[in-house]
Amino acid sequence: MKSIWENYTTDNAYDELMYSEFQPRPVSHGLCQYLNSLKKTDIDKRKIAAELAIMEMGISFTVYSDEGNIDRAWPFDIIPRIMDAREWKVIEKGLKQRLTALNCFISDVYGEQAFIKEGKIPSETINSSKNFRKECVGMKPRHNVWANICGTDLVRDKDGTMYVLEDNLRVPSGVSYMLENRVITKRVFPELLQGIDILPIDDYPTHLQDMLSSIAPQHNNKPQIVVLTPGIYNSAYFEHAYLAQQIGAQLVEGGDLIVKEDDCVYMRTIEGLDKVDVIYRRIDDDFLDPEVFRKDSALGVRGLMRAWKAGNVALANAPGAGVADDKVVYAYVPEMIRYYLNEEPILPNVPTYLCSHKEDLDYVLAHLAELVVKPANESGGYGMLVGPHATAKEVEAFRQIIKADPRNYIGQPTLAISTAPTLCKGKLEPRHIDLRPFILQGENTFVTAGGLTRVALKKGSLVVNSSQGGGSKDTWIINMEGR
């Protein structure tokens, strides 16, 4: 019988688990030994068991298409991604440092604007950001934290360096899949998990609840917390319902809430109106309040901004926090860390060319075929150019798009992002992956042990987004000490 590792290659990128086809890294010794002890048919059985569990648990996401919205089962690869806890400790510190600096920056943008006044970032960059909300100027959320929940995307380059690719500060999603992935792994490989010292992740809901309580308007020690969802047809509805259930909060839609003349938010219950203290909102700023933002929004709550500004309700993340979730602003994060914290950044940025700068623009246009070019404000991997994978025609078309709106584009070198063994038709093959840890900041700061590993299931693809053929893996942070 042929080995499941046959023809496995680690030539093209850093592999998270293997030095080579025959030699696992120290962190994956246990896993490889175990996999090699299984028959090929056993591995297939586990894969089927995992798929069944996903169907039964109803872990799904919604794909929008011309034929309507379809609930798809969450694509999951049973082979975990593994990292040494010693490396993780450093990353965790780096993530806390980064979010702390980002929150200082957002407070500053809506306050003194010292960073701008001292010429650290052009005021034009802020003013032209579509996520800068002038309505938020002068607001002071509790603990001076605007981005309470952050999902930061990390990728590893060929030389092993871990880079921050982007900070998702608006309504980052994926944490429920991280939690469910572990539940599935426990079902599928119970005997394997017993022998390995993996850091637990299931304390996330507790920390989320603590964080949300910590930002409640001060006069309340048992705050009423709700999760605000755009509704059952949203692609992340599964996650909204899951998180509400996990933290014992009500899951509400815009129509369930009302802001009264006293500028307080209430929900409509069987007992009448009930006051709400904290809203974990999963609706974009644009749709939050038709009184202030998009007038045509049917998802939000009229008067919500009034209530928030009056200090009667906390919103997580705070409106306007997205100003730091902009790929141009991203380029300035290392400088923010130095400026606000007087520290050196622990996690490096990917080198970034800002098309708003003449020099950078020229460089980008001259090297389009080698670079990744992204719009400043899109998410989900849409509207970007991966130079090395694009046809000459696509490159030329993109050149015109950039020229028309340079402020909105950035260029980055195409990283050979790392791979991990992934089960493909009964064999293991290297597939590119990234990592999205989740960071919570309120009174305290918390980082998940690991995060959501997303994997590009298509051979050679670098796009890990679930909406575009990506899947996910369980992520193990392993304690290697004493071994």
Binding site: M55, E56, M57, G58, V227, I232, A241, Y242, A244, Q245, A249, Q250, L251, V252, E253, G255, D256, M267, R268, T269, I270, E271, G272, L273
Partner: protein, 311 residues
Amino acid sequence: MLSRSAERLYWLARYMERTENTAKLVSVHMNLLMDLPKGVEMGWQQLVRISGSEQEYYEKHKVANERNITRFLLTDASYSGSLFSSLSAARENIRTSRELLPDEAWEQVNEMYLFTKCNLDTIANRRSRVLFLKEILKGCQRFTGLLSGYMSHNHPYRFIRLGRNLERADMTSRILDLASLLLAESRSDELRQYETILWVNILTALNALLMYRQHVRSRVKGDDVLNFLLLDTNLPRSVSRCLVEISDCINQLPNHDGLPQRLAELEGYVQAIDTHQTTQLQLRAILDDLQNKLGELHGQIADNWFLRAAE
């Protein structure tokens, strides 16, 4: 508790109860037909009749045979009263109220839905239909049991009980409607001869045979069965018991306004029925009236709790 959530849980329970009742009804009917000799006027069309969907059925099918009717009642996704439609609606309601219920409840309903979806074609065959229905009934029992054992008996739970018992009372009254047909003076001698078998099956459809034997302690007789299924306040599926449950929930829910009073009237109305004294025609009129009253009760519950959103 959100008004919207209350409404979804109420409907979740109604649809789950409807799923169970449909499965039970088809399953008992299959048994009954196996006992009766060919040619007795007790055919499959009676099932369509009590579900009140004759018109829709005959728009789709010319013949009322086993194959068409079981497909119509069990797996026809375009007929809103079919088992598959009920289960799909239940799943949609629970999918959108997961934050109020134990995980297992969602997984249970989701599993049943996936199971049904995979077995839509197998029900044409009698043997696999028997297995299918058994699995559905088991699933419904598991669902009810795990809510009772895993969930706090709080307001959300009360809305579930409310929905379940209203649906149950409605179904029992429909089954009694069917039974009253059997009392028709015009019934054939042959049918009279097999009457006991019919009544036993009615009791079985409502899981009431054992309790009837213990409680009524006489041979199975039509008017006794009717009385038992309408008036006994301990039998889970009797109309009176359902009303006791509904009244219990309503009294414990906030802002119940005039509902307890209306319910007391309804309970009084049912208790005043005496099947020993009524003709078949009178009985049918009473049952029709009862179904209308249950419909009104639903309207009052909705007005009282679900529409508060408009305030």
